[in-house]
Subunit: 282 residues, 4 copies
Amino acid sequence: MTTHILTLICADRPGLIHDVTAGILDIDGNIVENAQFADPATALFCMRTVVDTEVTDADAVATAVRHRLGDTDIQRLHVRPADVRPRTMIMVSRADHCLVDLLYRWRNDLLPVDIPVVVSNHADLGDLVRSHGIEFVHIPVTADTKADAEAHLLDLVREHRIDLVVLARYMQILSDNLCAALAGRAVNIHHSFLPGFKGAKPYHQAHERGVKLVGATAHFVTADLDEGPIIEQDVARVHHAMTANDLVALGQDTERLVLARAVRYLAEDRVLLIGDRTVVFN
Amino acid sequence: MTTHILTLICADRPGLIHDVTAGILDIDGNIVENAQFADPATALFCMRTVVDTEVTDADAVATAVRHRLGDTDIQRLHVRPADVRPRTMIMVSRADHCLVDLLYRWRNDLLPVDIPVVVSNHADLGDLVRSHGIEFVHIPVTADTKADAEAHLLDLVREHRIDLVVLARYMQILSDNLCAALAGRAVNIHHSFLPGFKGAKPYHQAHERGVKLVGATAHFVTADLDEGPIIEQDVARVHHAMTANDLVALGQDTERLVLARAVRYLAEDRVLLIGDRTVVFN
Amino acid sequence: MTTHILTLICADRPGLIHDVTAGILDIDGNIVENAQFADPATALFCMRTVVDTEVTDADAVATAVRHRLGDTDIQRLHVRPADVRPRTMIMVSRADHCLVDLLYRWRNDLLPVDIPVVVSNHADLGDLVRSHGIEFVHIPVTADTKADAEAHLLDLVREHRIDLVVLARYMQILSDNLCAALAGRAVNIHHSFLPGFKGAKPYHQAHERGVKLVGATAHFVTADLDEGPIIEQDVARVHHAMTANDLVALGQDTERLVLARAVRYLAEDRVLLIGDRTVVFN
Amino acid sequence: MTTHILTLICADRPGLIHDVTAGILDIDGNIVENAQFADPATALFCMRTVVDTEVTDADAVATAVRHRLGDTDIQRLHVRPADVRPRTMIMVSRADHCLVDLLYRWRNDLLPVDIPVVVSNHADLGDLVRSHGIEFVHIPVTADTKADAEAHLLDLVREHRIDLVVLARYMQILSDNLCAALAGRAVNIHHSFLPGFKGAKPYHQAHERGVKLVGATAHFVTADLDEGPIIEQDVARVHHAMTANDLVALGQDTERLVLARAVRYLAEDRVLLIGDRTVVFN
């Protein structure tokens, strides 16, 4: 028996669930988990189905379902065996709080990804990464070398057949081209406040304004910096005696929890993208 | 067009979603919302489907689906028009925090129920209830009159064709018979702590122990007092300078939010009961 | 015995607590609650002390403490009997969720304020207010009458000797003059998101962006719209199947809880303002 | 300049803050942080003061304050330089989630403790501990060797002059004698539910009951197993599709956050014990 994860985005119409499940019955599949959502705003239909079947070939499952969908306007139809873990590249700079948390969860089987490589624009975290038996690639970035560095990055993505790129406090701004090349498969973590603060040193701005909550947002990477579709968010409570540095520390705790949840959702194909919104089947 | 809410609990087997959706297509139905869950522990399958169709008769919808399910072992198959709001009886004693909150939400169309009657073992809240245009029935309870009082209650349930009974801080213990008569359609709200405290004055016990959180649990009423299947829970944070009375006030805020959420879930047929657990499609 | 609440903001220096407590001992006072905070950023010292004493006159208590503080640079020194509740004017428009919550808490002695008057630019909520035995003043506002309306408002503030103005979803923008006149004694409630959304229909923008949390911020009213010092904040969780209207309803639940907490903190003199930040001794 | 942390528990009476601050002025101290609480239930007064002074000797500071307190009934008066970090012994079994988190925070200067030794009844985590440059002592425990093992433990506590013992998922029950020997300086982390579940496999019981929240409690170790005074608590949200194992994983995330917070509070002398309750000045 193989367990497959099927995800579908298509134009909404009556009978869709019936057709998908017909395709699954055609290959003697048994649905063990299922979720769907019809979005009134976009008239799109989203579905995530986990299927047990003796068919091992993911393409055969997809073909069976596609056959039943007929001429439905399909935006995404993807099937993969559940035990084929997404090949994930983590990108970091100097801050290690998110990286340490991701590696811990990965080593303890709490994060269903393979991590063939970690990339950084600094050398600092190399020993930590290699001690986990993972390749560490140091790609320094300056204004002059940025284009080459990004080309190097994309080479690594191709070479390692990367499915998912995780920006775990990677402090370089990606070019629009790189964002486009990674569209839909790169996640970033970002501090967040109510209300938001523009410009430098946001924790210090938040502190000066006396915020009572600090938060973090994990979102898809898009050319519009820190404005990509939101995957997960959370907050922690703050009080007046905390310094700006205390806020940073608390914010980092929130960042690592939120990023770890977002990566798990992505690794389990729980996140579907419709326009600028995510549907998260968690 | 009529919108129906269908809920189903049956023995799990391959093809169930396909069969249910076939039944829905048979009546030219369009699924606008759908959720399901196959429980490995009980081998039961739960489904909640919201369907738009020109068939106005809920029984006709149920019949169409039942026909397609064949000889599947069905534990529950229920269909009702979404705009037929559950007829709800609220029961209170003297504390009004939950009642006020429920009536506010009801009056502002945030709680899709009809409330033909409120019952209390005290007269105190009569004016409040009547000022909302709702009948108030005062049924005093003493050790001697308890059996009669409960018979009176059940008469009201029958007479008003009550679908849902909400114990909104009703401080009388229901007899096992009454619990059985209301099984699956009565919800209670209860303060809750980590860990729990047995016996009288639990907020005071919690205070003496120095708890840092107080909470509330909304659960189905069963003969096993305060141990029924859990529908919703939440907590609020506490600190050492709070008195036991401060804990009570904070706990009441939590109680009314948790109960209001639970009643809404029930009113929208989002809560399915399998064994001692609830499946909440929220 | 009279219980007084003393609040102090002054330039920080060694010996301040000793001096304040000396002043309290001079009037045979006993400290029942005390909190202080020395802010490194502003070099200001904040203190809130609750004192039991046979001295009934609040000015006499203040004088005793001021005497001991000598030539310390004092920004605020305020004493009032704890049982003299702040005279509070609530301002509303059409949305009643915050008003109903505040009135409920006030009637149940959970909010230590007196409410002599509620003002609205609409007549809708008049019956509700009057049913609580509170005067309701309808002051319509148009572009032409705005100046007169604000003058009328300030007359009411003077006439009723108002200590605290609560904007409980009052949907008119206050002029800079009015903001200045109410500086430090007016609180507003505002929806909040991570990150923030500028412009009209923020819940709809938040929905389009797929936020996972909606929140509310209670803040002091300043000329800088919705940017005043923050008193309290909270959030609630959101998922993809919620409509923009669902977000509004959930946001309103958060708004009323946050505003009620902020008003209580203010009513108990727990909020001290240093620059653009609040110190909240809760 | 030396920064000292002073903590005091004594019988409540008027003038205490004035006397303590007099003692601090006697040694030309400047108060940089201060908190106190008078508990009506026990008539005890608790105070935590952070003082800058040129007096380096903590005993001299304590003596100055004690002198001013006169014949006040003192339960605890403790002063230590803030940069002398508590010597902390961590005890573990096989689960490493709390240990990894504590070591991460310690290595990143987020946890102001020294960790001379980690003890375990299993050898599994030895490499991890030693890779941090910390001594690892394996003390197996069987019914026959328990007394010897506990004697060995106490030897280590003495030898390393341990101030704080952290049971980071140490799965052996401590004898009453050991609990007594460690009274007030040992903290344990425990999963917690609303309501509580007695007996084995609590996560499985919680799952069967359909809880919507799982939590964790950090508490002082006392002979009354898992019933010691509570230092910190938190919860995480659960839904019906989570397995008992999912609950375990989520509970572990909560455990490590709660334990880390509790250890930091203890390390900064923020936790005072009055009867069975803690006062946490955080």
